[in-house]
Amino acid sequence: MLLITCPWCGPRDESEFSYGGEADIVRPPEPEAIDDAAWADYVFMRTNTRGLHREQWVHAHGCRRWFKAERDTVTYDIRATWPMNEEAP
């Protein structure tokens, strides 16, 4: 069980959070302007990174706020967490 630092509430147990997948996946602004392959890439394809991975979490059983995290998928170390609208520290 990980200890995750919510940017607003501080370090909390993983059981308070929900995982939201890879971060920085931008929804295509005009979905109908792109072909099926490009749309499928957005809907389904993720990087499956080995090593440092930018991802989204939500403090579901706390402040209910979403934030970004950089986590090492090998060691599970969480390098940093930061609010959605800020640059990675």
Binding site: M1, D36, V43, W66, T75, M84
Partner: protein, 984 residues
Amino acid sequence: MKARLPTGGRIDRDQPLQFRFNGQALTGFAGDTLASALLANGIHLVNRSVKLHRPRGIIGRGPEEPNALLQLGEGATALADQRATQVVLRDGMQARSINGYPSLKFDLMAIFDRAAKLLPAGFYYKTFMGPTGWWEQYEKIIRPASGMGRVPDGPDPDRYEKRDLHCPVVVVGGGPAGVMATLVLARAGVPVTLAHEQSQFGGGWLASRSSIDGAPAQDWLEAAIVELSQLEHVTLLPATTVFGHYDQHFLGAVERVSEIRPNAPLRERFWKIRCQHLILAAGAIERSIAFANNDRPGVMTASAVHEYIERYAVLPGRQAVVFTNNDAAYATAHSLHRAGAQVEIVDSRAQSGEQAQLARQAGMAVHINTQVSNTQGRLRVRSVELRHADQRCERLPCDLLAVSGGWNPSVHLHSHARGSLQWDDALASFIPQQDLAGVESIGAMAGVFDPNAALAGACEAAQRAATALGYATDATRAPVINPAEPGPTGLQALWRVAGRGPAFVDMQNDVKASDIELALREGYRSIEHVKRYSVLGFGTDQGKLGNILGLGIVSELVGMTPAQVGTTTYRPAWTPVTFGALVGTETGALFDPIRYTPMHDWHVARGAVFEDVGQWKRARYYPRAGEDMDAAVARECLATRDGVGVLDYSTLGKIDIQGPDAVTLLERVMVNNWQKLGIGRCRYGLMLDENGMVLDDGVTARLGDQHYLMSTSTGGAARVMAWLEQWLQTEWPDLDVRLTSATDQYATISLAGPLSRALMTDLGTDIDLSASAFPFMSLQTGTVAGVAARVQRVSFTGELGFEITVSADYGAHLWEQIFLRESAYAITPYGTEAMHVMRAEKGFIIVGQDTDGSISPLDLGMAGMVSARKDCLGKRSLMRSELQRDDRPQWVGLKPKAADAVIAEGAQIIATATPQGETPMHGWVTSSYFAPRLGYSFALGFVNAGRTRHGETLYAWDLDAGVIELEVTDPIQYDIEGARQNVE
């Protein structure tokens, strides 16, 4: 207690404890384990082995014990497979063997042993692979024969709790090294927690004659514990097993509270421990050697024999043979000798060393360059066969064989967190590579068996941890020990001795050296595969005795070094964990929150039958005397359609949406248009995921200029709320809109049926109920029966309907006001079942029952709802060719030809009345009822290209009912034009 020594040991001879083993009354002392007390009474034979039913005795002294797994107690508090070596003896304890019928000494199943050659590894897989279904029959015979313990016969009445602990440094293992490290940290002021598996700290020193300044070394250790217990920043957790080491220095531990305080209100406490720095001092476990019949009762590890003598004052045998390949077992020989046993030492090593010389000086016979090749005896070892270097054999009578094949550091807690292991040639075993940041292994666990070196290493590790945390360490130095027992020095690896007879590697699973040979012959090479094929190490002991031995045997057979063969990954748990401890208090009523509506008590008083919908308790139907569910539901449906029915709809999910961009949010998450919805109007909406599949549905009302109230399905409220929040926060932070869950704040009562308007009038309301002022799909606010209310004219039954929403505090009051008029209007309360039937007659979907995450609005025939004017979540996915295919499953009605044949929900739709072999599936059934108003049974579901197949005859099939002939129809069967809900 015929094997109890008159003096010595750490037992309290003034506190005798009575206990029973297989019904026999026995006595032990406080300080005993169940194992030491049994041995004190001369009992070695405690069990029959799991597969071959061979007689087995106590072999070990701790968590490694594979044989002495006993059943403790009776009834609901019964404990299965308890390692007698770790069970603290209690007065009145009742222990039983697990295998052995009719008795332990005469086991009918021992026939399996005679047939052992017919039962090699993989026997069950190969023999019982087929034909299909036969395994279930074999299993009925095989399972009882391979019994482990019996489970308790009722819910666990004991109490448990969970606690979190955050501590900068945690030390696991309260032997000398662990205590030394804790002392250094504590004196430096570092907050530190010391967890130890046993209730008494000391580890190996509890059985050692080593001294410090002329006093027993254990005295020094006990003084250290006293000092530590007085420090506020030190947490001592005796009788606490750290069973798992997870990411980020997170530990799971179970404290056996009742082991230290038998009358404590708590049996066990589950600790979730987080630390910055972890020091592991888990010790080491002695291993055996694979020789023929090495499993007879009376064959034990040398360290176990040593500990039973020195710590428990029990002499496990009077005529002992000690078989070793290293120096450590000589300590056992001396203990036996001092206790008055006759001792012969069999040393497999080629040369006579200093220890052999000392033993001879003490008067013991030492056979150098000699191996034990076999043993004899039925229920207890009676003699051993020696094979000398010149192949000459001789037989030595004995009643005890103490074996040391070397020592395995208990690397598990390092390995759990994916720490690497390295082969240590001197030990012929694995030690941790110190490759985990913030984690250090010390003492015997790190392969350091010399006590002075272990303590020095412990001090250094503690100082490193303190420094890393910014503490200055003081001048604490390790004391100088005068060691009394040799360590496993001079080891010459010996895995296997040739001989006739089964040589056991893993006794809990009856895995023999020949089974490993067989696995290799059958082509398995990876140690992981060999283990799985032979089930080596797959018992509850996880191969603490056998794994490295098995690895050594494999390496010899394939001609590689053990390091090349590789090791397996150790996984939690170190020893089995009580389920109750993991559950803690989260059981029974505290397992999951239960949500009740404000009108719940009324439903209970009316005899409602409830169903769980998410966490909600919802009234399913209200049976009258003599009614079954079908009769009650039929009555509720007809009464609603003919008069007025009342439903408690408070569980409906409600999300309050406010802000200038509220309508933009609705536009983006729903398939249909919201721009033109006027204030005071409501609209049915459908939500998709980005894959184009239906996520939820419900009616959303516009309450004000920038104010909407979205209703969701009962079970979907939290999911939809989280879904909207995710999009707002991660993708559309520019939208100025706020969401508030309002489900619990309101009570909603749904009136349905032709008399609902008259009832509304009679209740007293300032709302104009005329169709022109209050049309279908609109809302009004005002008072109803004197209560401020919001009323929506909507319908899920197809009848004229009003949904009255009031503050939750007024829910029960309004409900009672309605039922004051019960007889005047023949008001009928109806439950979720009648609601489901009536909506099915109307062909409405229930998300989660009729949809399953693979159904798009096109499949549902709702393509017309999807706005062409704008984009929304999931819309682009609908354009994919796969979703545009016209042979996809489509939403249809399914009408059995026999009016009373109710199809099972989940039944398959096929095109033949006589299915044989592989039959193509044409669809499936999602909802099915007898529809009282229609007068026939009716189902809803999906059929491939179903919209073009109305009128076609197909068949529903399920395992119980077989084939039911049906006609594909329109999903809407009742009031297709909607005249009844749109009534003037």
